[in-house]
Symmetry: C2
Subunit: 243 residues, 2 copies
């Protein structure tokens, strides 16, 4: 399984993904699920994937390779004039890869399926954040639902629902994501460290902060330990029922 | 869907279940999912159900009716000499009902399936808490895993993992359950109020507190509103990252 979240803030976008993949609990590995393409001053794109690893790796490789002549260092994904066009392109590639793999024989309904969170900005338009389905269609985060999750999303959702605020700072957003990821990791073996973090500040059209957060990261450890105590304090502060 | 939790405390057992059933989001109803049988000074049993409503209602009705002569007010479930025997009996009834319904034609793998949490005490032995599977087999809560959940359990699990303590009071346990249920209700339409609460104090062998907690219950409202603020306070108390 997987856990990825994309946040749409007033000041930009924040992405976090885990890196655990598993084929049964006795076969776990670490793979990057977050990919970024930048054409400075023109386009910034980050993509996160959940689902069948062969599918998601094929999608990312195809995006990287397609239409790229030996002398051309920019893959086609950086050549679009809007994020909507990028989302349609990625959706098309995803649908095509799934159909291709399924041709050879699919054993279960969702065997080769995958889901993608795509966010970024193209010069001259707003930053946008999409969730792309295996069928190639997609939804966009808006003011009512300013964050998107894929994968093992239920454990970490309550804290996002309660504490997310589109006006929060990047620092607070990263803290919130780490709490949401830590809650998930504590309850489900199929999501694991390290986590990948990517921030994008609106209208900069260049890469923000990219960081890999490992299990021994001092800040993550402070959050993980501190959150247990803070939660207990919050819990104790609530009134007791009279039975 | 459904959400039910059974807690095994040092001082006894606490049960909470929601009451929402749904066949699609456009067909929701309220049904009790918690059932208690008491033979004072001899046996106390509470059972909570998740899964196909026709199955769970048939199981409870069969337990209620079976072997009950017109002059005999005690169903067989109160005649066992240990909770292990009760769990075997309930597992047998559950398996039998599913097999019976499936005979007439089952359309999907888990169509008639149901899961049960069973807890209680029989005179002369300890209070025990079980989770019974559709196949009729079961697991028991112990010191390492002192709580059991069925149904839509992921949203409300992180707070249980962090804050549950077998030595907590009944009052604190009810508060914890309400926080866990409130987190679930806030994130998933298939779990809904009112909630049913049952407590059992060890060695009393009589019914503890039975209460139905409705949406307008002042204590629940205080917890629901207070938890949002307490969480925000806890979140703000954590250190910010330096990006």
């Amino acid at each position: 399984m997987t856990y990825c979240v994309g946040l749409r803030l007033g000041t930009g976008l924040v992405f976090m993904s885990d890196t655990r993949t598993n084929a049964g609990v006795d076969n776990i590995s670490t793979f990057r699920k977050m990919f970024t393409w930048v054409d400075e001053d023109q386009t910034f794109i980050t993509l996160m994937t959940a689902g069948n690893l062969a599918t998601t790796q094929a999608v990312v490789s195809l995006i990287d390779e397609r239409n790229k002549a030996p002398t051309d260092r920019s893959p086609a994904i950086l050549g679009f004039h809007s994020m909507f066009q990028v989302a349609r392109y990625v959706g098309g590639v995803l649908k095509e890869v799934i159909a291709q793999h399924a041709e050879a024989g699919e054993r279960a309904e969702s065997y080769f399926n995958a889901t993608v969170i795509l966010g970024g900005q193209v010069k001259g338009s707003e930053p946008r954040l999409f969730l792309i389905y295996p069928e190639g269609n997609f939804i966009e985060a808006g003011d009512d639902t300013p964050f998107l999750q894929i994968g093992e999303m239920k454990y970490g959702r309550p804290i996002l629902v309660r504490a997310f605020d589109p006006d929060m700072s990047f620092e607070a957003a990263v803290k919130l994501l780490l709490v949401s990821f830590d809650s998930t990791v504590k309850a489900n073996l199929s999501v694991g460290l390290p986590f990948d973090l990517q921030t994008y500040e609106r209208d900069t059209l260049r890469r923000g902060l990219s960081r890999r957060i490992k299990a021994d990261d001092p800040y993550f450890q402070a959050i993980s330990a501190g959150w247990g105590n803070a939660l207990k304090g919050a819990f104790d502060s609530l009134p007791d029922i009279t039975l």
